[in-house]
């Protein structure tokens, strides 16, 4: 199996243009995404707002009524912690805390994260307007305040690094797996199967090789994104790498399965491109899931992309290791294993023809 992996590695290193496309294109796309979405900060975003009302006064009732008119996606929580959790996880873009102020007034706190200043700005501006309307005049008495949650790193940078990484890992895996079609057609696959005394080592070598390429892509993208990321502890780097490994496994298993189902490149090319694009779109690789309507956010969990982005986001940006992370790892590794098994069954049938 090692010998076959080595063969792939040699061939890969000799194919300079392919090498450049596989390893340099993804970080370029990351930089492009980061530039586009970093600059879009000024537009009015339909931000989702999570709030809690600690004042419970006549003034806060008025403010709540105004907020319901202003924000389409508004959710009420019963504690400051719940609001913070929503914002930090990305479920809400911005948090709003209504506190009792001097006399009948209100103190309003706006919670945001690094890299989501656009949403925070928009909500802060709206809340200032509401406050001003209630007071009957524009006030700048510090009753609307902002607080940043989470690390200094850019929330969106981690998101886009993860999103671009998972998308390209799937593209590269599908592209790499297509080499298997040539091996099948030329009889090289049959020859390798006879030499290795079974299909499992041959397909196993392919899985591990494609996974290795995927991990390399992820490492390069996150390296390029490093200036925008929070500073990382050793465990975060390790957990990030492990995430890269299971994402690579998922991409490779998926790719081998799709390619096994195809008879020729003419079939494989459009089918795999379609599938990879659909997964990327639903899974949040193209537009952030936290900006999608709730229905699409739920559908997103059916894609490996959502799990991959969530796991990276949690360990790298949040710096947390909660139960979502191992769950994501299991889902991703599971997809890799299932994909490989399906590919194995199909390819074994094809060996006899």
């Amino acid at each position: 199996m090692l010998a076959i992996i080595e063969a792939y590695a040699r061939g890969f290193l000799r194919d300079r243009p392919g090498l450049a496309l596989t390893l340099l294109l993804p970080p370029l796309i990351y930089l492009l995404f980061a530039a586009i979405f970093g600059a879009s900060g000024q537009g009015s975003i339909d931000a989702s707002v999570s709030f809690t009302d600690l004042a419970r006064s006549a003034a806060s009732q008025t403010a709540r009524a105004a907020m319901r008119k202003s924000f389409d996606r508004l959710s009420e929580q019963d504690s400051v912690q719940a609001v913070e959790a929503n914002v930090v996880s990305g479920r809400a873009d911005t948090g709003v805390i209504l506190r009792a102020g001097d006399g009948p007034g209100l103190r309003i706190e706006i919670l945001g994260t690094g890299g989501r200043e656009a949403a925070t700005n928009a909500v802060a501006a709206r809340m200032s307007a509401i406050h001003a309307a209630m007071a009957g005049r524009a006030v700048d008495d510090g009753s609307v305040q902002r607080r940043r949650l989470g690390p200094a790193g850019d929330f969106q940078a981690t998101y886009y690094a993860a999103a671009v990484a998972v998308m390209f890992m799937f593209f590269a895996a599908v592209h790499g797996a297509m080499g298997g079609l040539d091996e099948r057609r030329s009889g090289l696959q049959a020859r390798l199967v006879l030499a290795s005394r079974g299909l499992a080592p041959v397909l196993g070598a392919r899985l591990l090789w494609l996974t290795a390429v995927g991990v390399a892509q992820a490492i390069i993208i996150f390296l390029v994104a490093t200036p925008d990321l929070p500073s990382l502890a050793i465990w975060q780097i390790a957990a990030g790498l492990l995430t890269a490994f299971v994402v690579g496994l998922a991409a490779s298993g998926f790719a081998l399965m799709v390619i096994a189902a195809c008879r020729s490149r003419d079939q494989a090319q459009p089918l795999s491109t379609f599938l990879v694009l659909v997964l990327a779109a639903l899974g949040g690789s193209m537009a952030p899931r936290f900006l999608m309507p709730p229905a699409f956010q739920s559908i997103g969990w059916l894609t490996p992309h959502a799990w991959a982005i969530e796991s990276w986001q949690t360990v790298i940006w949040l710096g947390r290791f909660d139960s979502d992370v191992p769950t994501g790892w299991i889902v991703l590794a599971g997809l890799g294993v299932v994909g490989w098994l399906v590919a194995f069954v199909i390819e074994r049938r094809r060996l006899s023809g």
């Binding site: 063969a7 049959a190 020859r191 006879l194 005394r197 006899s352 023809g353």
Partner: protein, 308 residues
Amino acid sequence: MNGDPQSAALVFSGVHAGYGVKPVLTGLDLAIGAGEVYALFGPNGAGKSTAARVACGLLEPTRGEVRWPNQGKSGVSLSPQQEALFQNLTVAENLHVIARAAGARRERASIDVARALRLTACETRANELIAVLSGGWRRRASLAAALVGQPSLVVADEPTQGVDVHTRSALANALRAAATEGAACLLISHDARFVEAAADRVGFLLSGRLIKEGKPTALLDEAFGTRRTLAVRFAETPQDMLAKVMREAGFFASADGLTWRRIGDQPFEVARLLADAVNQAGGELIVSRPDLDDLAAALHEERHARDH
């Protein structure tokens, strides 16, 4: 050598095999001994490649049995019908991958690779990428890959497809050399000259079973004795007069009417009688020994006559 069951490396007993409901092999019996090159000869679609797949254990017989008495299935190597190699690796690197995939450690693999390169006379191209080699050299490399690691049975499917005379003889030598070193070789081919040069025995496959088997020279002697093939080739179809004369002399025309053949005694006398007319028509005359193609044609005809 022959298919002595004691030293047989591959035995088919009444093998039926096919794809889905379509039967391709319909009761194939054959035995190949260690040190023997056995050629399966037959027209396109006869089931040769299917037999090769069964011989490699890639396709299970639906009826009958296939056995590898020497080393079991694990000693089988395959040189597939297409050149099955990594394009971005050199010849030697390709062979290394095969050797190491088969379980040899690096040093052992180097010895195996050197041996396979020697048998196929590929040493001079060992360090060239497959992608830049000519078709003939790729064919050699592909056969070399099947000879790596002393397999007990080498299955070579159409190794001479699209190669020149020179390569053909190198490939024949390689197979002979591998057999001399103890391998059993199942050669799949419809290349008559190659089979005559390389094979100890030849089996004629037609519609999924053997219709004749034996040493090529013995079979040819038995079938044709002292008779010779007289072939006449024209650039354009001959005039009716000449065609009539030739038919009366026992010639048969090819489908395009350009090649006429007669297998019989006294070829030179017939040639002398026709010489002037053929020369005027711009044709050429060739006298040769009947080959396996002629034998195959005769066998098909015989069979056809018997069936109807």
